[in-house]
Amino acid sequence: MSHSPARRAARRARTVVVTALAAATALTITACAGPSVGATAGSDDATAEAVDWSQVEPAKEITWWSNHPGESKVVEEKFIDEFKAETGISVNLVTAGADYDEVAQRFQAASQTDELPDLVIASDVWWFRYHLNDQIMPLDDVMEFLDADAADFQPALYSDYEYDDQHWAVPYARSTPLFYYNKDLWAGAGLPDRGPETWAELEEWDASLKKEVPEKGSTFGLSTGPSWGAWWFENMIWGQGGAYSDGFELTLDAPEAIAGGQFVHDLFHESGVATLSADDAMADFSSGLIASTIGSTGSLKGALDAAKFDVGTAYLPDGPQGGGTPTGGTGLAIPSSKTPEEQLAAAMFLEFLTNTENTAAFSQNTGYMPVRTSAVESDTMTKTYEQTPQFRTAVDQLADKARKQDDVRVFVPGADALLNEALEQIVIEGTDPKTAFESVTPRIETAYTENVEPYLGAQD
C-alpha cells in the first residue's frame, strides 16, 4: 500500500512543499544580515588602501544628509545650486532628521544597507562612534589633493576631529554655548550692559533682575536634554575645577566634580536664580519670560529675529576655578563605504561648503562660528560684526576660553545621554550630586568597556 503510485505522488508533493518551506526558512535565516561575529573589531579597512585621487573621476550626483542646523536649509540649497553651476555635480539634500541625534540614528540604521549618503552631518558626540565603526573615511589625503588648506581651519575646531593622527570630519556648523541676556531687563535693573563675569556675580544681580521679569519668569533659565544639558554643564563642572573624565577615566567621584554638581543644584534649589524651562529655554528667553539663558551660537540668528528686545551675548561666566567653554556643533564626514568617485565628489562639495566665502556666508545667516580663520577676517564677517556685534562674541570666546570637551562625553556612545540623566536628577529632583553621579557611573563604564575599549585595542 505504501508503494502505491498515488501515495508516492502525494509524498512527492509533500516533499516539494517541505523542501520549499525548508529552503524559504533557510533563506530567511541566512538572509539575516548583521555584523560578523568574532572578527577583529575596528579593523580600520577605511585606512588600509590609499586612493590615488588624481586617477578618480568625481561622481555626477551625490546625496547629503543634513538637519539644516540653525534653520539653514535655504542657505544650504543656495550652496548646492552654486556648486552645481561651478562643477556640474548635483547634490541631493535630504532632511535626515530634526537634530544631530536623529540624523545619526538614521545613519546608524542605514549602515548595513546601500542607502548611505555621500556626505553626512557628524556632531561632536557622534563622529567618533562613526569612526569606531569604520563608517567614515579619513579626510586628510583627499583634502590635500583638493588644496583645501586645512591649516586655515580654526585649530580648536579642526583638531576636534583628530584621532590616530588623521581627521575624520571637517568643521561645518560649529558652535559654543553663549550667555544670552535681555538688554532691556538688564537696563531696567540698572545693571551694566555686559554678561556676568562670574556665576557669583549673576547671583548678586538676581535680586534686582527678579523685580524686572514677568510673573512666572526668572533671572536665568536653562533646559536640559540629550546633546544639550551635559554640554553646557561642562562650563560649570570645570568652573569648580572638576571634569567628567580624565581621558577615558571617569572622575565624577572627585570632590571637584561633585562641587560642580552642587553648584548647579544650588543654582536651582538654594539661591533660586535659575528655573528649568519646560521645553526650550531659548523660546522662554525670546519671549521675555527669563532674563538670561545659555544657548548655542547656532540659536543666535533665531533669537535676534524672534526677540522684541535687544539681545545681548556674553562669554559663559566663570566659577571659582575658572571655567571655559566647550566647543560643539557639527562637522561633516564622508562614509567609507562609498566608491572613490562618490567620495571625491563629496569631498569637492565639502571643500566648497567650507571655503572662506561660504563659511562666512553660513555664519552670517545662522550665527554659527566661521570655521576658517580667513573667514573671521573676511569682508562679509567684518561687516556682519559691525552691524550685529553679538556675532563676534562666539569667535572671541573661542579664542579666549575654548577648552577641549571631556573624552567620556564625546567619545563614549550613550555617555552624553547618561550624563544628562544625572544632571536632570540634580536639577529636576534636587538629588544630591554624589548620588546622581553614582547612579550613572556603572552604565557609562559598561558603555566604555562594551563599545569603545575593544575597538581601541584593535586599533593600537
Binding site: A9, A31, N451
Partner: protein
Amino acid sequence: MTTTATPRAPEDSGAGPARSAIPGRTRPQRLHRSRLGASRRRKALLWALLLAGPNVVLLLVFVYRPLLQSLYLSTLQWNLGSPTARFVGLGNYIEWFSAPTTGRIVTTTIVFTVATVGGAMVLGLGLALLLNSRLRGRGVARTVAFAPYVLGGFAVGILWLFMFDPRYGLIQEVLGWVGLASPQWYTGRPWPLVMVIVVYLWKNLGYVALIYLAGLQAVPQDLRDAAALDGASSARTLRSVVLPLLTPTTFFLLVTMLLSSLQSFDIIKAMTQGGPLGSTTTLMYSIYEESFVNGRAGYASAVATILFLVLLAVTAVQMRFVQRKVHYA
C-alpha cells in the same frame, strides 16, 4: 465554538478526499480513484502554493525573518553600525533582569498599559452609548470623536505638548480660570506620564467608541424589547442584556488595544522622549533608546524579544481564559 479533530491514522494525514481504510477493497477501483485523487491533489496543492505563496513569502521576509534576526542579535554584544560583534549568549537577558532600571521600566509599562487600555475601554463604551442615543448632531459628533484616531501620533504629540505647556499652554489657562495652578507637566513626576496617557487616550478613544458603537447596533432590538416588557430599567438592560452581548467586542478591543498600547512609541517620542529621568520610558521606548541612542543593538534585541514574549503570553492568556467569558448573540 471550538472544533474537535478526530484522530486519523498516520498514513491518512494528507489532505484530499477521504480514502477507504478498509483493506481488501478492489484494487483497480482504488488505484483509479487514487490516481484521480492524486492528480487533483497535486493540482490543488499547486493552486494553494500559487495563491498562498506570495503571502507566505511576505510573511517570511517581513515578519519571521526580522523575528529570527532579532533573536540572533539578542545573543550578541553589538554596537549598532559596527561591522563586528561579540557573541555573549544569554548575557543580554541576564543583564536586563539584573539592571537597576528594569523595575522602573516595567512599572511604567504596566501603569501606562493599564491606564490607556482600561481608560479607553471604559470611556470608549461611555462615548459609544452616548453616540448611540438619539441626539441631535449625532453624525457630526461621531466624526469628531473618531477624527483623532486617524491623525499621526507624532503630530498629535507635538500639538498637545503646546497645550500642556505649564507657562503658556491652553491647559494652564483653563486651570487658571478655576483657580488651579498647572502641574509641571514636562518635569515633575508623575505628571509627564499622566500627560502621555491623556494624549494616548484622546487619540484612541474614537476608535474604541466606534467599534463599541458597531457592537451596540448589532444588539438585537427584540432582546431589548423583551427586557422592556419584563419591566427592566435601562440600567438593568445595559447590565444584563447589552454588556453581555458586547463581550465579543470587548474581547476584540482588549486584545488589539493591549497590543497597540504595549507597542506605542510615537506619542512618547514626540512629547517626552522617555524622560524626564526615564519616567515615561516604557519597554517599547527602551528598545529604541538602547539601540539608537546608546548603540547597544544586541541588548535592545534582547529587550525586544522579552517584549515579544510578553505580548505572546498576554495574547495566549486572553485567548485561553478571557474568551470563555464571551457571549455571542
